[in-house]
């Protein structure tokens, strides 16, 4: 399958800060690449270069085979971009915003209007379409911003943290819309700082840190590498520890560990939900009533700790060195 998005050895320096240090990635047509990394890792810079908004110091970028540095005008015809900021005009209504972009894409007045209606409908904004955008809550602004990127039905979408700041419901709504776009054949570059988002949406993930790719693979491969899920049982009665450890070993196939200080027994697990049901059944049969029981999923922080030996959140000193 042809690659719809390619970055080759992108490098960009802002003054003292090396934002990108030879970043390469590729996204096959019709798939989703999750670009996962903490703030300052280079996600936004990568999107800005591929979106023709910024020239790299070194390296090349292509969308659908078009060089974004040499032929930015052509590349822009392939692209829909939604950046971290919601770049929508507060003084316009949602409808006017989309109509404006349709006109700029030279759809013609009639077509621009029907396209605006269609997108408002599809992104569940139809009722808000005639209201000023400044009255929209963040989740609606983000959806409108995405709609704005979709006006010309571009084959390639570059999205920089499209669910940043959204509540769980807003996030799910956005995920639905993105999934639908991919089903319609779009290729997606999705930058995110949330492991579960990449896990949910991406076919492949690259993890970036300090401007380069430090790991890559399918979500399953990555999760396996970092240890994936753990089942944790918190006990009220420390005397039950031994029994629970035995049960966990049987359910999860060994490797149960006891953290006595925290009254906690845990074990790594795959297919967590099923194991959890089995575990509950056995605990019940043994007459044990845990204080808490649940599946703990590896977070981005866990992954970074594992991959780089340091925490994902930069320390204050590092943050200062970067600005």
């Amino acid at each position: 399958m042809a690659d719809a998005i390619v970055a080759e050895g992108l490098a960009k320096r802002y003054g003292q800060v090396q934002a990108l240090a030879g970043l390469s990635l590729s996204v096959p047509q019709g798939t989703v690449l999750g670009v996962l990394g903490p703030t300052g890792a280079g996600k936004t810079t990568t999107v800005r270069i591929l979106a023709t908004l910024l020239r790299p110091d070194r390296g090349r970028g292509f969308v659908n085979g078009i060089d974004v540095v040499a032929e930015p005008e052509h590349a822009r015809r392939q692209l829909g971009v939604s950046a971290q900021q919601t770049a929508v005009d507060g003084f316009l209504t949602g409808f006017e915003q989309l109509e404006l972009l349709g006109r700029l894409h030279r759809l013609g007045r009639r077509r621009a209007r029907s396209r605006a209606e269609e997108l408002l409908e599809r992104l569940h904004l139809a009722e808000a379409g005639s209201r000023a955008v400044r009255t929209y809550p963040l989740a609606m602004r983000r959806r409108l911003d995405l709609a704005a990127a979709l006006v010309a039905a571009p084959p390639v979408l570059l999205l920089d943290e499209p669910t940043r700041g959204l509540d769980p419901r807003g996030r799910l709504g956005m995920w639905d819309v993105l999934t639908e776009r991919v089903r319609a054949g779009c290729t997606l570059l999705l930058c995110t700082a949330q492991l579960d988002e990449a896990d949910q949406l991406a076919d492949e993930i690259v993890v970036i840190d300090r401007g380069r790719v430090i790991a890559g693979g399918t979500p399953e491969e990555l999760k396996r590498r970092i240890g994936g899920e753990r089942i944790q049982v918190v006990l009220g009665n420390r005397a039950e520890t031994q029994v629970v450890e035995d049960i966990l070993n049987r359910v999860c196939g060994g490797q149960a560990a006891v953290l006595p200080d925290q009254h906690l027994v845990q074990a790594p697990v795959t297919g967590g939900a099923q194991a959890l049901v089995e575990l509950v059944r056995r605990l019940d049969a043994a007459g044990i009533e845990p204080v808490d029981i649940g599946i703990h999923r590896a977070s981005l922080d866990d992954m970074f700790l594992k991959l780089t030996g340091q925490a994902a959140t930069p320390t204050v000193a590092e943050e200062e060195a970067r600005t």
Binding site: L53, L54, Q85, L104
Partner: protein
């Protein structure tokens, strides 16, 4: 559609957007329209009577009109700064449209603020008894000169608005760069009132040059060919310097890390 046609169509669409902003968030428009009224009334009724300048009203109104379009022209930077801050400018830069459309959209809509400022300046004059002495041809030439000057000011403001490090800097710089030019000029007072070392600066200042040409056009005797030529040299010079620079700065993009 030809490339030029597409560029003009895009400019019109964006100018309409920017006019909508001006209309729906009318603070700037009111400022542009109200400022010349305040200046004209203050200078005409508070300062004027103290000055021993004969025919001060005929001296003042062309000066107020000149500073009114200069002030309104600087306001283009405010909308531009807002677009920079909110990422709207990046959105437009990522579209397959000409970058000229983005620039013409801002400068074109700014013409609305300039016309509003000029209208209230002239209306204030008319209400207080001022009249243009020259015939309709020279009167119109005066207005054309003012609007051309306003365009030159607006383009310089766009350059400053794009060159500034932050969006807030863009707003301030684009707005206030005209103030020293207006203050050290003959817009409000004859340059004879200034200290000697400031006089040559004040006389060659574009605001003075335009105001002088305007006074001669509206209230003078013979056709002021020399004054007008000098004013046009300034206007064309500013445009030649600012227009290509604005395009280059927009293509490069505002400084990195200054988006927020």
């Amino acid at each position: 559609m030809s490339e030029l046609g597409a560029m003009l169509a895009g400019s019109a669409v964006l100018a309409r957007r920017n006019l909508r902003r001006a209309w729906r968030l009318p603070g700037l428009l009111l400022l542009a329209a109200g400022q010349p009224v305040a200046v004209a009334l203050f200078l005409g009724y508070v300062i004027g009577p103290v000055l021993a300048v004969t025919g001060y009203r005929d001296f003042l109104l062309p000066g107020v009109s000149t500073q009114a379009v200069a002030f309104a022209g600087g306001l283009v930077a405010v909308g531009l700064a807002a677009d920079r801050r909110r990422g709207a400018l990046d959105r437009l830069r990522a579209l397959p449209i000409s970058r000229w459309s983005v620039l013409f959209g801002h400068v074109g809509a700014n013409l609305g603020a300039q016309l509003a400022a000029l209208a209230t300046a002239v209306a204030t004059g008319l209400v207080t008894g001022w009249r243009i002495d020259a015939g309709p041809g020279r009167a119109l030439a005066g207005f054309a000169l003012l609007l051309a000057f306003g365009q030159a000011v607006a383009w310089v403001s766009v350059v400053l608005g794009l060159a500034a490090r932050t969006a807030q800097g863009a707003r301030r710089l684009g707005l206030v760069w005209t103030y020293p030019f207006v203050l050290v000029s003959c817009a409000f007072l004859p340059t004879g009132e200034l200290p000697g070392w400031l006089r040559p600066i004040a006389e060659w200042n574009p605001v003075s040059v335009v105001a002088t040409a305007l006074r001669e056009l509206w209230h003078g005797g013979a056709f002021p060919a020399r004054e007008l030529a000098l004013a046009l040299v300034w206007i064309v010079g500013l445009l030649v310097a600012a227009v290509p620079t604005a395009y280059r700065l927009l293509a490069r993009g505002p400084r990195p890390g200054a988006g927020a």
